[in-house]
Amino acid sequence: MNSSETRITKRQMAFRGMLFLALLYTVLYVTFRVLWLWDSGYSRKVFEEFYDMPRHSIDAVCFGSSGIREYFISVEGFHRCGAAIYNLGTSNQPFAATKYLIREVLKTQDPQVFVIDLRGVTDDVIVTANIRKVTDSMRFSANRKELIDVLLSQPIEIVSDETLDPMDFYFSFTTYHRRWENLRRDDFGKTDTWMGYSINTETDDFEGEPLSIHDERVPLPECIEEVLTELMAELETLDQKVLFTITPAWYDKKSWGMMLSAVDRLNASGYDVLVMSPEAEETELLSDRDFRENDHVNTYGAMKVTDYLADYLSARYDLPDHRGDEKYRRWETEYAEFAESLEKSSE
């Protein structure tokens, strides 16, 4: 058959074209959503739920690595004090990403406070998977591109089992398309997470050396110093209040010393730093119940830290109480599900 025998009108052509594009868009949209980043820390979920938040509805946003990611449960914080404090932390979140994540937040939200955990200053090596947890979870934008460029070119050593081609980070589907044979329930959006937080009730009893006996400072690597300087310069331009935190854990001497150096710099520049010791009474942490390893709390521990931090933020920055507000129904619903699930897993 000669293909040109069947002539079609311009209207038919337009209809066919639109139908084809609609079909293609639908299929690819679903495919791209399903075949995307999967990690046990549900980083993708953390960002997805953040992007779904109504504009200007968040009062505070937390950034950082597992130091905040596993310590602050957004829905528990809301239940405790009624403030919408969203945890945008991801496992081993590169400290250099903080500046760009703040910019990302400010596109849709206008929080009163930014909470930045300092555990990231101790990472002088970064694994690409941890870069991807941030960059692959973000929406396409110039900010995302800039963040990728910065993270891939920063002087920090990057451990990678893949070539560091920025194109593969801009268009992550080139990496994730091959996940088709490893798809799981979570990939179809069926995750047991609440604003990206998943329950973990594992415990590990241990006795760490008291941190209070160490006050020796360890100099920050030059590249971290630079990142910290850049971050402070960025924070100077913002209207928001900023609170730096060190969450409770039994750190090794070197990491603790590095964080103390960072605290000194920040204090000297006039920033607030909240240091939560695992031995301190105010957080009420129990080493045999609330930790799953020496440097991470489990959900029981996270509840205690969340309550303490939420109270602290509400009181110090006078955050509003949204409990009962229809606009914040989602926070209450998710908390109810979280509490029910925690109860089940505790049985």
């Binding site: 069947t6 052509m13 084809f20 079909l23 398309h177």
Partner: protein, 489 residues
């Protein structure tokens, strides 16, 4: 820039839009400009200069030859022709393996120029008077990847004006898509298994070797025919029809038939420009006379013997065209020559044996036997092509008969050759689909059949194909889509 680079498709889309916006009569200039830019951007200005020098040399040689012939100066025309041909052969066999020129597709435009000059010398075509059009004929960019090898006389559509035709463009796009599936879904997976076995032949002995040989044949077919699909599809979008290069080669019952169905344009080129002229030489005529007169060989016998000898340079050319190493001359040239000559010599005695033993040669089973036999013979030749040296090929062949290990088909060993079970299943699914489509295309073009279906069903098929390329394609970090195997020629 290769045929699997996203950049290629961006450039293609831009040129297609520009092409159809160009005024009637100037579209060929657009194509010529795209082609020159393509050579410049993918190679370098030095290669572009080499290309232009060669093309213009042939262009003016053809014009001079025609003038000398008109002026009854045949001998001088022959000298000019000879000089032009020498330059073309030099470009093919000496320059192309230099690293700097490997990507220029010099073999393809080189032998196209030889056919152009020869056709002009034989007065089969009128020489082109516009150098720009000769540049377009020789450098039409889709052809620079792997052919097909076209003749000047059949490429008049290059210079014609084409208005946008939705159906033609859609058919072209579909063909491109199908080519991509063959390359990055099927061939890339086959390559993983083949490479695993051939990289450690001491570990994978016996039937593994024969599996690799068979799969390499499939890989080569999917790779090369996929490349042709893309090239022909791209041209179809411009409204330009190119000759087909494959006609279901695995249905061939003899090696000779295989080469009439595989890389068809190379085979016909070698036949028309090497074998036939060789048969017409005075030397061959003298040998024929000697055979008939002195040795009392029958007319048919003498003719056959001479044609076997005339095939020798053809197969040497085919072998050397694949590469300058001896393994190509032997594996891709002499091996097939021997097979074809033996097939011809033994066909009459074989027929007599078949008749006496009462074989049903019209049965499907007989045809299948002959097809399998042909497949094995060609697969052995291609082992020389794939493996690094002749010595290594003989070593691997020995390993292939060193052990009989049929259990590998049952104990899951085949899923430990670099591909997971799911990937092997996907590969087999698409491989069967591709072989079925190439078979079904003989009766009625599958795209035409799909075009007769309802709009929604059709579009679902196309969306599925795009989705398959994106999801099942072997690409991304950690994987490198290798160049098309034939792009190196």
């Amino acid at each position: 820039m290769g045929l699997t680079d996203p950049g290629f498709y961006v450039c293609f889309a831009v040129t297609l839009i520009i092409y159809y916006f160009l005024p009637s009569g100037t579209q060929w200039m657009g194509l010529m400009t795209f082609s020159v830019l393509f050579i410049w951007l993918t190679a370098s200005w030095k290669k572009l200069v080499l290309f232009l020098v060669l093309v213009l040399l042939n262009h003016f040689c053809a014009i001079v030859i025609r003038r000398l012939r008109n002026g009854a100066m045949g001998k001088r025309a022959g000298a000019v022709y000879f000089a032009g041909i020498c330059a073309d052969f030099l470009s093919i066999f000496l320059v192309r393996d230099q690293e700097h020129f490997a990507l220029l597709g010099i073999s393809f435009f080189g032998i196209q120029l030889i056919s152009y000059l020869t056709d002009s010398y034989w007065e089969v075509v009128n020489p082109q008077t516009n150098p720009g059009k000769t540049i377009l004929f020789a450098g039409y960019y889709p052809l620079l990847f792997s052919g097909p090898i076209v003749r000047y006389g059949e490429m008049s559509s290059l210079y014609e004006s084409h208005s946008f035709d939705w159906n033609e463009t859609a058919f072209g796009m579909q063909r491109i898509l199908w080519g991509l599936i063959k390359k990055i879904v099927i061939s890339a997976r086959l390559a993983v298994i083949v490479n695993t076995i051939y990289n450690e032949p001491e570990r994978y002995v016996g039937l593994y070797i024969w599996i690799a040989a068979a799969l390499f044949m499939m890989q080569l077919y999917m790779d090369f025919s996929g490349c042709m699909d893309i090239v022909i599809g791209v041209s179809q979008c411009y409204g330009i029809r190119l000759p087909e290069n494959f006609k279901t080669p695995f249905l061939s019952q003899t090696v000779q038939e295989f080469w009439q169905r595989w890389h068809v344009t190379l085979g016909s080129w070698a036949r028309d420009y090497i074998m036939y002229p060789f048969l017409r030489t005075s030397g061959v005529r003298a040998v024929t006379g000697y055979l008939r007169g002195q040795l009392k060989v029958s007319k048919t016998g003498a003719k056959h013997i001479c044609s076997y000898f005339a095939m020798l340079p053809v197969w040497l050319f085919v072998g050397v065209w694949h590469g300058n190493a001896p393994k190509y001359a032997i594996g891709m040239g002499l091996w097939f020559w021997v097979c074809i000559v033996l097939e011809n010599i033994l066909s009459a005695p074989a027929e007599r044996i078949e008749t006496r033993l009462g074989f049903r040669t019209d049965a499907f089973s007989w045809r299948l036997f002959r097809r399998v036999r042909t497949f094995i013979l060609v697969a052995v030749g291609n082992m020389f092509f794939r493996l690094p040296t002749i010595k290594e090929t003989f070593h691997v062949l020995r390993l292939g008969v060193s052990e009989f290990n049929p259990w590998i088909f049952f104990d899951g060993s085949l899923f430990e050759l670099g591909l997971s079970r799911n990937n092997v299943l996907i590969m087999l699914l698409f491989l069967c689909l591709a072989l079925y489509i190439s078979y079904a295309d003989q009766e009625d073009c599958v795209r035409s059949r799909i075009a007769r279906q309802g709009i929604l069903f059709r579009q679902c098929i196309y969306v599925f194909l795009i989705w398959s390329v994106l999801v099942f394609g072997i690409y991304g970090p950690g994987y490198q889509i290798s160049d098309f195997i034939y792009e190196q020629f």
